[in-house]
């Protein structure tokens, strides 16, 4: 009898769970249907710009969605935010589950690989159809800054993405500290452009404010002060030796006339005297010139820079907005490219353009392409400028009064176009895997440079260490191309 009651109770509990689960999914479905009432087309869009990190992203996406849905009443835009760190894993899961987004932002980190796997739809036919577009709606190579149109197509010219942003690595300078030093130092004063009356304009820096590495070294030395115990109080520059920080080697390499990889992504090109010079330059700034705060994993470069105790850091052109947010409105900083090394010519950096792509399995191609057109149009660029303070990949953006106004309000934007234009192509083949092979070596070189220079380190020389890193990176490239060959065979087999 008792057992029967137990069985009955168990069945009732199961029933309750089933009913609740049904109700819940029903409610979820009802919510979706209500939110997109009367809109037969659901366009799923993925991005990693999260309103949880910065509410301005929320305002930006809300306006894009509102504009798009006003113009396309049949489409319900469903925006899904996926964190950058999990983007690839989530995308893989969505792909395997046959529910990929229709449109998504792709970093240059993954775009080449996504296309070679057959995940992205080539856009040439759509671009051709849109060939009659004029003005701010036109999407064509000549409309964009040249460095933005480098990562979005194959060597044969097949376009698989439309540039949504343009970013570059750059040097960011604390103008408060520079202005203070400029009062007594003509060399630092010379970094500022002159106003009409001949006085320095302390709101911005000349694009070529730093002439070469020696000049950079002198300036950051002058900007460094020490405590009585000899430790660095105010640092001229900051280098983070750990993991991602070690990845700041490539722009210095570019400034010294070097490249990280070849165009085809088959060979590492950094293991040469130019590469060794770049790494030694970074290591010496820390160990010999003593212009940096101590290497600390837990403290990001941006953190010490924003604390006002560092005069210069290497970062991305996008980071202006983050600095303003973190410092509650401080805008007195400026950006320059990297000065040339002994083998380099002119100011240099690395530039890339993340892009909007359309999934090969996109269910609503027309709506997806319209969305891409809006976001990548001049109007889309202006929306990003308005809400996020970002520059954009389109040339016509820089002719608009809105851009002129933005530069006036935020003078740190003034060099940004030139910086982006000065950039070589950011490495593009298997970036995370190559980082995993190369960064620990760069890390060791930076952390243990004195031992290595004295011949007591884990590598006989900087050059030898770079050669080992390059050998391992070459293995990554070899495997990647073998794999890409298999994907090609697979796709050819599928077509037959």
């Amino acid at each position: 009898m008792r057992a029967r009651y137990r069985t009955l109770a168990g069945c009732l509990a199961l029933l309750l769970v089933a009913v609740l689960a049904g109700l819940r999914s029903g409610m979820a479905r009802a919510w979706v249907e209500t939110s997109g009432a009367g809109r037969p087309v659901e366009l799923r869009v993925w991005d990693w710009w999260s309103p949880s990190g910065n509410e301005e992203y929320g305002a930006y996406f809300a306006e894009v969605e509102r504009l798009f849905e006003e113009r396309h009443p049949e489409v319900d835009v469903i925006l899904q935010i996926v964190p950058f760190g999990n983007y690839v894993q989530k995308l893989a899961t969505a792909m395997v589950g046959q529910t990929p987004p229709d449109v998504f932002q792709s970093s240059v980190y993954w775009a080449e690989g996504f296309y070679q796997r057959g995940m992205l739809r080539p856009l040439d036919d759509l671009l051709q159809q849109a060939g009659a577009d004029t003005g701010g709606m036109r999407l064509a190579e000549e409309i964009f800054l040249p460095p933005a149109w480098r990562h979005n197509h194959t060597p044969e010219g097949v376009v698989f993405g439309i540039p949504q942003i343009i970013d570059a690595q750059c040097l960011i300078w604390n103008l408060d500290l520079l202005q203070r030093a400029a009062a007594e130092d003509a060399e630092i004063r010379g970094m500022f452009p002159l106003l009409a009356d001949g006085s320095p304009d302390y709101e911005r820096l000349r694009f070529d404010a730093v002439q070469d590495w020696e000049h950079f070294r002198r300036i950051v030395r002058k900007l460094t002060t020490y405590r009585p115990d000899g430790s660095v109080d105010q640092a001229g520059f900051v280098i983070n030796a750990y993991s991602g920080g070690a990845g700041m080697f490539p722009p210095w390499l570019a400034a010294n006339g070097g490249r990280f990889q070849d165009e085809e992504g088959k060979r590492a090109l950094f293991a040469n005297p130019g590469g060794a010079e770049a790494l030694e330059f970074m290591a010496r700034l820390y160990w010999e010139d003593r212009v940096c705060p101590p290497f600390r994993r837990q403290i990001a470069d941006a953190e010490v820079f924003e604390g006002g105790k560092v005069a210069c850091m290497a970062a991305g052109t996008w980071s202006g907005k983050d600095i303003i947010r973190d410092t509650l409105g401080w805008k007195h900083f400026a950006k320059t490219a990297f000065p040339p090394g002994p083998r380099g010519t002119g100011q240099k950096t690395l530039t890339w353009g993340n892009m909007l792509v359309i999934s090969q399995r996109c269910e609503h191609l027309e709506a997806a392409w319209e969305y891409v057109r809006l976001v990548c149009s001049l109007e889309g660029n202006l929306l990003r400028l308005k809400h996020l303070g970002y520059n954009g990949p389109r040339l016509d953006l820089y002719q608009t009064p809105q851009w002129q106004e933005a530069v006036k309000a935020r003078p740190y934007l003034s060099n940004i176009k030139q910086i982006c234009l000065a950039g070589d192509k950011l490495r593009h083949t298997e970036i995370i895997a190559t980082d995993h092979q190369a960064n620990p070596v760069f890390e060791t070189l930076l952390l243990r440079y004195p031992d290595i220079a004295a011949g007591n380190g884990p590598y006989p020389s900087v050059q030898a260490a770079l050669e080992e890193a390059a050998r391992n990176v070459d293995q990554v490239y070899r495997r990647y191309h073998e794999q890409a060959g298999r994907w090609l065979e697979q796709r050819a087999g599928a077509v037959q």
Partner: protein, 277 residues
Amino acid sequence: MKKSLAPYLYIAPAFAAALVFSLVSMGISLWASLHHFDAFAGAAGYAGLDNYRRALGEADSHFWLALGHTALYVVLSAAGVLLTALPLALVCQRVRWGQALFRTLYFLPSITPGVVLALVFYHLFGVWGNLLDDRRTALPALALMGVWAGAGYNMVLFLAGLTEIPQHLYDAARVDGAGPWQQFWHITLPMLRNTLVFVVVMTIIGAFQVFTSVYIMTSGGPERSTEVITYTIFLNAFAVAGQMGYASAVAWLLFGVVAVFVFIQMRLFRSRKVYDE
């Protein structure tokens, strides 16, 4: 017939779940380890034992390095757990009042998400002398966090084991003139054998699978000093194109290592009756 079928019906749902979510996925990963496999594109040809050969023998493989780090982490964790959880349990057992409170306090880290613990310790280690910045201290620091996180849980297991030991054994030992150390050595430890084996085996299996702290706190650095096997697996599976097969092979090699370890342990500490009731 009815009687003999009933137990199987009871375990059937759990077995079905294990079959689908563990055994089938393990089978798929074994199959993937024998193929060139990509998370997005699926299998692209049979690879035979190439993935295993690469892990064990190629110059740029970090398998042995990662295995060495993992083994060191396992040793530090197992020793740390034994040296903290058992004394804690012994002390806690003697507490006259508030034992439940102490048990709860020590157990709290076990129910705190690993990511939260990792973030807290990431900053704590920065304050306590930059332990994560040096290749010589980073791995022991991670093990220290692992021990702290696991001590409470294992303490509860030891406490349960201690309450099972009949009081009359201690009474008899005291009558015979045994001191606290002799009681511990000749009664407590032998009587805790089964708990001890369970705790050590589970700690070792858990330590072999350490991932969250490495992923959050060090990313395998500095200078690869905290690169452990699971981190290598994760990177290759999800961050390197087309290397899911290789990652699966490394995962199976890890499985082999853990299985051998556990088998040896079980043989060494084979349970046997140590007293007559």
